[in-house]
């Protein structure tokens, strides 16, 4: 019964790992993987010799860290706010609305962003002009983009994450709140001394999952929204978009796969490192 699944894993997850060999080859499509000549570490030299690798690595980690901190932070606040709301209908409606962005693709998001930000008839620039601030050329100013992308990430995922937190909150026993009320704790105190501490394990798990993927940029997001706009590469180009362009744009299989191998190894090391740290300090929350 496990056969189709196992077959899938072998073919689509393990067989492509052979592709990592290309990182050490002077790859040509006609000769295939095994026919191509060995190339030592030249592909890596090419990647690490340029400034690109620092830029894409820092962008990947930096953007993911921003998404993680602000995304989860806001989701916690949202879930606590939703939990404090007792009007059933309002709560349900708000929950439905904030969950909605999770359901649309990055290309749809990219069009929304374009409608808001483009320089000729974007909504935000129109508002800025009517306030006599003057239009801002968002799509050619890289400095704004870490902020813009963080806002977009919050827009898309905060609702989703807040529902996970809300589920954790609803698992907290009512007796705790009751006895706190009897002891005279007000609602703010209940939030800080009961709700928040009991959310911590969920927060730790979500953080760990995100940290484990810190070397993987969100290709759909970045490539969907920024695309091939090279003006914005200084702050938005991540490992995944870089590899994609090396492969499909330049057709440079060797460099693309050396970057992919670098990413896979760094990803594995990070997750082992963090899981090790968590095992040491908070064994309950470890991933494996």
């Amino acid at each position: 019964m496990a056969l189709p699944g196992l077959l899938f894993l072998l073919v689509f997850a393990y067989l492509p790992m052979v592709g990592h060999v290309i990182a050490f080859k002077k790859f040509s499509v006609s000769k295939g993987i095994w026919g191509s000549e060995w190339n030592g570490f030249n592909n890596f030299k090419f990647f690490f010799g340029s400034d690109d690798w620092i830029r894409v690595t820092l962008n990947t980690i930096g953007l993911n860290a921003l998404f993680l901190v602000f995304g989860l932070g806001l989701a916690v606040i949202l879930s606590i706010a939703l939990n404090e709301i007792h009007a059933r209908l309002f709560k349900k409606l708000a929950q439905s609305i904030i969950f909605l962005p999770y359901f649309v693709s990055w290309l749809v998001v990219s069009l929304m962003v374009f409608g808001l930000l483009n320089s000729t008839n974007g909504m935000i620039n129109h508002e800025l002009q009517s306030l006599h601030i003057g239009a801002i050329d968002w799509y050619s100013t890289p400095a704004y983009w870490p902020v813009i992308l963080t806002v977009i990430s919050i827009w898309k995922f905060a609702g989703y994450n807040s529902i996970i937190f809300l589920a954790a909150i609803s698992g907290i026993s009512d007796e705790l709140y009751e006895s706190a009320r009897i002891d005279g704790a007000n609602r703010l105190q209940q939030i800080f001394y009961i709700t928040f501490p009991l959310l911590r394990p969920t927060l730790v798990i979500l953080t760990l999952l995100a940290v484990g993927r810190i070397f993987y940029g969100d290709f759909g997001m970045i490539y969907g929204i920024v695309g091939e706009n090279s003006l914005l590469y200084p702050t938005t180009d991540v490992i995944d978009t870089f590899t994609f362009r090396a492969l499909r744009g330049l057709g440079d299989f060797g460099m693309a796969s050396s970057v992919a191998l670098y990413q896979s190894i760094m990803g594995l090391l990070t997750i082992l490192l963090f899981n090790g740290l968590v095992k040491k300090y908070d064994p309950e929350s470890r991933l494996f």
Binding site: F8, A94, I98, L111, N121
Partner: protein
């Protein structure tokens, strides 16, 4: 009564902030949707002159007329529906069968299988190997299979299923075996029917993934007759020759194209089914998330 009114100033503040935060964030989430939907019904010339607005000055259905008169939107819809339906059904079946084995008490090699599955989440195979696999080894470029096969088993969804299957009492299994039911029969007749909530969630997760995917099509599909809806949006954003693309080569006469309007209308047509089905589907997602957040 006395005590309640005494403590209520701080509590009322908490209450007020809770409503304020939820309302503001909900508006923040809603505005882009409203902008796109109302924009698709806005007259193209006023879109160009006044830009994107929340309350447009002149409404028009021309963008939809233009879009629906061409052939591409129907082709793309068909591609998206085909991949979503075939992919989701196959993925749910394969994942459920795999998860059933991983959760089975009597199977000795299940830990090895679990590890094999988990390891794929830790160590990526890399884009290049994947690309060569699909294009050069399996020869799936410009086929529907390239959009379906790579998503048939998602490790995360599988582990959600595993943790749910584990909650099914094993006695059910034993009773079925005693009554002479084989593993297949037990799985399809007993296990699947009582795990419908988690199956519904898994189905939705896979369906959403197939419906919203454009990465696979971007990598493997150049043939425009195989463009899913998502790629159609992308083509409309980046393609200079959008009119010919929408209308198809067969229609000779090219009209003035409402470029923005058509993009927005295509987006609305694409997210339409999701937004319409959303109220009915949402609770399954919430349920699935809740199961998924419990460590399996």
């Amino acid at each position: 009564m006395q005590r309640r009114s005494k403590t209520s100033i701080g509590d009322r503040l908490v209450n007020g902030s809770a409503y304020a935060i939820a309302t503001l964030f909900a508006l923040f989430c809603l505005i882009p949707f409203w902008m796109v939907i109302i924009g698709s019904f806005t007259d193209e010339s006023s879109l160009r002159a006044e830009g994107f607005k929340l309350i447009p000055s002149k409404l028009s259905l021309y963008a939809y007329e233009f879009l629906l008169r061409g052939g591409q939107v129907y082709r793309s819809y068909l591609v998206t529906i085909e991949t979503t339906v075939i992919g989701t059904l196959a993925a749910v079946l394969i994942s459920a069968m795999f998860a059933y084995v991983l959760a089975h008490r009597k199977i000795k090699y299940k830990n090895a299988l679990s590890f094999l599955t988990y390891f794929t989440m830790l160590f990526g195979s890399g884009l290049v190997g994947f690309y060569i696999l699909v294009v050069n080894w399996l020869h799936l470029k410009d086929t529907l299979w390239a959009l379906i096969l790579p998503y048939l088993l998602n490790p995360f969804n599988t582990f959600v299923l595993v943790s749910f299957f584990r909650t099914v009492p094993y006695e059910l299994n034993e009773a079925a075996t005693v009554d002479g039911s084989g593993e297949w029969r037990t799985f399809f007749r007993i296990i699947l029917p009582i795990t419908t909530p988690v199956l519904a969630t898994t189905t939705l997760l896979y369906a959403l993934q197939y419906w919203n995917d454009w990465w696979l099509a971007l990598l493997f599909v150049d043939d425009y007759t195989l463009h899913p809806l998502q790629i159609m949006i992308r083509q409309l954003i980046s393609n200079m020759n959008a009119a010919a693309y929408i209308q198809g080569a067969s229609t000779g006469q090219l009209q003035q194209i409402p470029a923005y309007g058509v993009q927005l209308a295509t987006v609305c047509v694409t997210i339409g089914p999701i937004v319409l089905l959303y109220p009915f589907l949402q609770r399954y997602f919430v349920k699935g998330l809740t199961i998924g957040s419990v460590k399996g």
